[in-house]
Subunit: 331 residues, 2 copies
Amino acid sequence: MKKLINSPESVVTDALTGMAEAHPGLLRVDLENKIIYRRQCPTPGKVGLVSGGGSGHEPLHAGFVGYGMLDAACPGEIFTSPVPDQVAEATRAVEGGAGVLYVVKNYTGDVLNFDMAAELCAEDGVEVATVLVNDDVAVKDSLFTAGRRGTGATVFVEKIAGALAEAGAPLAKVARIGEEVNARSRSFGVALAACTVPAAGKPTFDLSDHEVELGIGIHGEPGRTRAPAAPAADIARLALDAIHADRPLSGGNLVMVNGTGATPLAELYIVFAEVAAYMREKGAEPVRALVGNYVTSLDMQGFSITVCTLNDELTRLWDAPVETPALRWGR
Amino acid sequence: MKKLINSPESVVTDALTGMAEAHPGLLRVDLENKIIYRRQCPTPGKVGLVSGGGSGHEPLHAGFVGYGMLDAACPGEIFTSPVPDQVAEATRAVEGGAGVLYVVKNYTGDVLNFDMAAELCAEDGVEVATVLVNDDVAVKDSLFTAGRRGTGATVFVEKIAGALAEAGAPLAKVARIGEEVNARSRSFGVALAACTVPAAGKPTFDLSDHEVELGIGIHGEPGRTRAPAAPAADIARLALDAIHADRPLSGGNLVMVNGTGATPLAELYIVFAEVAAYMREKGAEPVRALVGNYVTSLDMQGFSITVCTLNDELTRLWDAPVETPALRWGR
């Protein structure tokens, strides 16, 4: 294993140090508690948004902290949930009088720890609501998860709920739109090769040169099945078939073709071309797109597709200004 | 080899098809001639900016087409120069009456083919100037190159010259500022593992699990030397020593820590943390930063550091609005 790290133990702290150095105008980093804050927070009268989860999925979540998106992100160790005290600390710091929304990916540890943080904060009189993201159609109940896993739709929820919070909406409304985004979103991931967790020092699973893993989880959890390696268009169609079978594609859609860490950008665009063709065959249309590394799994080779059916309100909120390290436009 | 492609022959066309689908508001793609255009072009009275080079370095160059940066990009096949007719076609299409600037990375094929395109266009009365980017301090004369190679500074030249062109400056001034950015920029790259060209089907070089290649080229050309694998901070310092020895670090700097394709974002931030510490030791400061995949080498595992000493004018032009698939802010 070769990794560009100083030691497996210091990966998270060292990376946060670099984030603080690279984005002083956008972020403030509390290294002791491992919390990334929006430069200016709390914003009085605004609902605060807090997310977090295991590290190793960068830019999720720290890269989405900033104007129009998250107020704070709480990274755990690699593929490990943040702890309740950490989340509670972030919650108190971003509370501006209008309550705080948690955006939580559906993994058992994350759900438990964010719930405990919410309880701790309730004792201090901070109102907390939670949007649970569970968009991955690949498997129900998995390693680490009861129910469906939360993956790519997290980016959509954070952006759209963040925009509504920025516009001054109350907590219940911000939570409701986050739930709506999640309900309209579906994802499916594919791995061509596994990732290597620094502390483990070897790939999380073995995959022969002639196979891909369909429905892979973002920590390398098993998917639905393995299939022979095939042209990108065929693999994309297997992913899209799973999404379409779960929630038929229709209307105008926000589409993310996400790289899992070691996938060249050109290959993601090759997948996007097939996604667009497939959607049109089903009478749907991609009207907004993200193509790149947004929810990675360290150095996994692969991709995921996330589709969210838009309406006018969601489109407007998606298009609203955002200024974070990883998503930035219109301001 | 597993690649997310349809066939080695169709990689470039398939990826361009996906780009056109993903960014219809920003780009227009001429699939036949393999040219990516800014959605609206030419812009009457504005200097047109054209760049290009071998594919496999995405988002360079196509991802930098749009408002405030390039008017057109001409991708060749993987690691292969674009052809003169292709560049000439792009030149004529973006010429808005104020001439056209080429931004060319210093590789023999690119230099020859852009020169030939400029001659073809001169016959049609189109005035062309060229900025040759040669920022890589690693080696002088290399596979494919006479003199120094052009790498990360290309992004800085395209952004800053693009901003000045957008502001209405004449061709000579736009060319001059591009040259100034190049003169103030230095880069050094490191590989932990080689990339695999689809048509070749195997890694471009072998590197043991205990070695890194210092001064790697963006096509996997040999660097200065191999060194034992070491903590990220130590490797970053070797790269910075090379840069500092060539042009002493000072003042406020634009710094890019660039991933070569398969490097997790968190690892790039770990490198950035060390870059910031090193610069301060030398009395310099990172005041603007890019951290991510900007000039990749397919799925190479590694990074490069590019430093450009800013002044007030360059800072203002760097901060000016830009709206491309890969760089976007402030508009």
